[in-house]
Symmetry: C2
Subunit: 315 residues, 2 copies
């Protein structure tokens, strides 16, 4: 079925100037067979800008734009497709009349990274392709010689489709990333955030800093929480927290989930409205950490969409 | 004006396995405030995959998809918007019924980079924000204290919009990049290539390797040429080479242009059809190296579109 777009495009937001000095000048050939060029790495850098792409449907039904914030080691691409090529969540929500904004966190994807360790501290860790197989609750052993967890819904036969999406990410760039998300909110205006994993932190923190601009917050397996001292600000924002399957048997996820749930309970105790859904308790079994890529991704998206409809955010 | 999409989405193609061994295991906290995770960097990597995003219009008029291959230090985003926010070339051609594919070259943007120097040789050079000001023929001196070249059409008042798009790129990854572009062609099938700067090399080389899949080749200021020994293969492909303004006064561009023109003349001498247009000779003055971002970008796009129409590639 076709979808008519009123507008579409991309932009970068944010970034801060940094001065670099004392580094040697180099002669570099930037293009294969190209002319050598003298590169002086000293000067001013604009670091910490962030890329976002928007698609605005002609028949708009969502009351606010829906902003997709990906997790660690990934880019916005994780919302655009699923392993094997079935449509991703960006398609699902755009087809239902939501204006969508898919961004790449600072230092990942089209946001670009900057000189390190001078501006971006440390260096990015690199993970071999079997690493997320276990960490994202798809399977136990090496992806090559172990079967997926029983009933797991990540398309394991298309594992390499997923691995091709994985990018390195720096680990001490939180301030850059949060600043860029705030710049995005300031530019787009009142929005609904759909955040995953590492971006759980940024979703809660951004809502604490810009409560008037966050009209709802959907957190998929948030890996970290907001600032407890600012929890009262969050009570005016409808929130939904979702968790997938296989959490109890994982070495890390019971603690991660417990911390997220405890933070949610604090928001509730302070008078906030926050729903916590463990998908297996709704009869949805087999979800990995990459819920938006699992075979039932449309079903989970429909649950999120219904939750937004029930909050009068879709007309 | 709205545009109806028949389909849209993204995928990654290509990549090769590499084994890494002998590196120390590290404890890393991947998310702010997250649970530490043990990262063993040893194992198999899939390096050299490439991201591409497609939009297929419901009313398709281009006979083949149009593939946009960006230049060095940039990502596919350079075709999506212009400094200041006016629509980019992807919009222009999609609005005229072309199926568009915008990709990020290997190790840039959503394609991701891999462990270096083990897999990707060397390290990426970083350039301060004034660097492309001169190198891309926008102005003479430092962007902050020198006026743009007289009549220059890159929106200098939105220079930082452009700088935010610049990403580091590795300089010895040609084989990876060419392989990924070939994988893209093999997946998409017969296509028209629109390539810029560094991708001039990849456009000509890809056409030499997959002549049946390249139905036309548009080269914007190609920074390097194809393989002279394979030039006969290129004679069956209609080609258009475009150059902007300020070339004579630049320290590098007269030689780069001369080399491109000489290669084009060889193709012509071998019996090929190749048009070379210096935009100033067509009355279009003021184009920087970033022609798709200059204020007259729609005018240049219209010239390219007309050239394709004249070759019966649009119905």
């Amino acid at each position: 079925m076709t979808v008519a777009l009123a507008s579409w495009g991309s932009f970068h937001v944010g970034g801060r100037p940094f001065e670099i000095s004392g580094k040697p000048v180099r002669e570099v050939t930037l293009s294969p067979g190209g002319m050598p060029v003298r590169i002086d790495p000293n000067g001013t850098y604009l670091a910490g800008a962030m890329y976002a792409q928007y698609m605005i449907p002609a028949e708009r039904r969502g009351r606010f734009p829906l902003l997709f914030w990906h997790g660690g080691g990934l880019t916005g691409a994780c919302f655009e497709t699923t392993p094997g090529g079935r449509e991703g969540w960006q398609n699902f929500f755009l087809r239902r009349g939501w204006a969508t904004y898919v961004s790449d966190a600072v230092e990942r994807g089209r946001s670009g990274f900057s000189i390190f360790p001078d501006i971006f501290p440390g260096e990015p860790p690199f993970t071999p392709l079997e690493n997320p197989w276990q960490r994202f609750r798809v399977g136990d052993g090496h992806y090559d010689n172990a079967a997926p967890l029983p009933g797991n819904l990540l398309p394991a036969d298309h594992w390499l489709d997923f691995v091709r999406q994985v990018v390195p990410h720096f680990t001490a760039t939180d301030d850059f990333i949060l600043d860029a998300y705030l710049a995005l909110l300031d530019r787009v205006g009142p929005s609904i955030l759909l955040v995953h994993s590492q971006a759980g932190f940024f979703g809660w923190r951004a809502a604490e800093e810009r409560p008037a601009l966050v009209k709802a917050l959907i957190l998929l397996e948030p890996a970290a929480t907001g600032e407890p001292a600012k929890i009262n600000v969050l009570t005016s924002i409808p929130q939904l927290v979702l968790y997938g399957d296989y959490i109890e048997q994982d070495p890390r996820w019971p603690a991660i989930r417990a911390r997220g749930v405890a933070f949610a309970e604090e928001i509730r105790a302070a008078g906030g409205f926050i729903d916590i859904i463990d998908l297996p308790e709704r009869g949805m079994r087999g979800n990995s950490h990459m819920i938006m890529m699992d075979r039932n991704s449309d079903e989970v998206a429909a649950l999120i969409h219904s939750w937004l409809v029930a909050r009068y955010l879709w007309a």
